[in-house]
């Protein structure tokens, strides 16, 4: 995020967030930021309660109590995702909807339809907006949580076509991190080099530089980093002991 956008966002958040404590659901159209703060606050509270409950149940199970049912492992996302969706619909077409759509991408668990809808809406209504910068980091998550190619396509659209160079850079960095996770190091390297030629933001450039160094260490063409470890019998040895031989390094287990 550029400094000016960040400063503007902070100005907007600070007084309102503390006031929105009432139990009345905030009206998104009147005060989107207050409604958003309220949603985030109540969701955090519900997650905390769920975690405490799950931990207590697991402890009881360990002590011989009843088996924890599968549904107890599911985070309490459903009603909050529904609320986010309602707010986003109330704000349809306005860029304040983006934060609610981002909330869905970030927090939805099994609500695949909501994720798909959020990605579609971001793509049709907000892809060229400044606000989209705040949600690019969640698009890879959305891709793995059900939106699939539509999420990666949107990320690509922002990375390549957004009017603001810094937004493009942010999307490129998010896409590089995603490609790294997927083992596509050459793709990640290309995106990270693009960040370096597009962005002037120091934080973003530093992040890109770190990730680039990390990816290049394990990319094809690099000298394999040394492994100094112990074998399964506990005898110490090193990967470089095998110089002169071709090594097929296999991360494996019987399990």
């Amino acid at each position: 995020m550029s400094r000016t956008v960040l400063a503007a966002a902070l100005l907007f958040v600070s007084p309102v967030g503390l006031v929105a404590q009432s139990d009345e659901p905030a009206r998104a159209t009147q005060d989107p930021q207050a409604a958003y703060n309220e949603l985030v606050r109540s969701f955090a509270k519900a997650v905390e309660a769920w975690q405490d409950e799950l931990q207590a149940a697991l402890k009881k199970q360990e002590e011989g109590g009843p088996r924890v049912p599968r549904k107890a492992y599911r985070p309490p996302t459903k009603s909050f995702i529904a609320t986010a969706q309602e707010h986003a619909q109330e704000l349809a077409g306005r860029d304040e909807a983006v934060m609610f759509l981002g909330f869905i991408l970030k927090n939805a668990s099994s609500e695949r339809n909501a994720i798909k809808w959020a990605v579609k809406t971001l793509n049709s209504d907000h892809a060229d907006s400044a606000a989209i910068a705040d949600v690019v980091d969640y698009l890879p998550m959305a891709a793995t949580k059900g939106a699939g190619r539509n999420a990666t396509k949107l990320l690509g659209r922002i990375a390549e076509q957004h009017g603001d160079a810094e937004v493009r850079a942010k999307a490129l960095l998010a896409r590089a991190a995603f490609k790294t996770e997927r083992g596509d190091s050459s793709g990640a390297i290309a995106d990270l080099k693009a960040v370096q030629s597009v962005s002037k933001d120091e934080d973003l450039l530093a992040e890109a530089k770190d990730l680039l160094a990390e990816v290049q260490k394990f990319a094809i063409g690099a000298v394999a980093p040394e492994i100094e470890g112990v074998d399964t019998d506990g005898v110490a040895f090193k990967l470089s002991d095998y110089r002169g031989k071709v090594v097929l390094l296999d991360f494996w287990g019987f399990w």
């Binding site: 790294t180 996770e181 997927r182 083992g183 190091s185 990390e214 394990f218 990319a219 094809i220 063409g221 690099a222 000298v223 394999a224 980093p225 492994i227 100094e228 470890g229 112990v230 074998d231 399964t232 506990g234 040895f237 990967l239 470089s240 095998y242 110089r243 002169g244 031989k245 071709v246 090594v247 097929l248 390094l249 296999d250 991360f251 494996w252 287990g253 019987f254 399990w255």
Partner: protein, 111 residues
């Protein structure tokens, strides 16, 4: 997977090739080690493996491994040449080329 790897180790035992594992079966506990040894014997696993958790952080974390198995093809000079080729025929072809290159490099050095 394992039967094929065993056949590669056997086939190239007199050539410059080593299959090195990074094993995540928890062989740092006595129970884990006993189970591992029994299974290794049963499956004919004769090659050497690092204990994945024998370093801090585990080797798979340092190497950013996200799925198992993950394969790295490292040449005689220690350079990563390929990754994650799993098709058995392609595996053999690629490795055979790499091994031949290693042998040629060794010959040159002797001269």
């Amino acid at each position: 997977m394992i039967p094929h790897e065993r056949s590669l180790v056997e086939k190239w035992k007199d050539r410059p090739f080593a299959l090195i594992g990074v094993n995540s079966d928890g062989t740092d506990t006595e129970k884990g080690l006993a189970e591992f040894k029994a299974k290794a014997k049963e499956m004919g696993v004769t090659w050497r493996s690092f204990r994945n958790e024998g370093t801090d952080p585990p080797i798979s974390e340092t190497w950013r491994v996200r799925g198992w198995p993950t394969l790295y093809y490292i040449d005689h000079e220690g350079v990563i040449r390929h990754k994650d080729i799993r098709d058995e025929a392609r595996m053999e072809k690629v490795l055979d080329e790499m091994i031949t290159a290693a042998e040629e490099a060794a010959k040159k050095q002797k001269k």
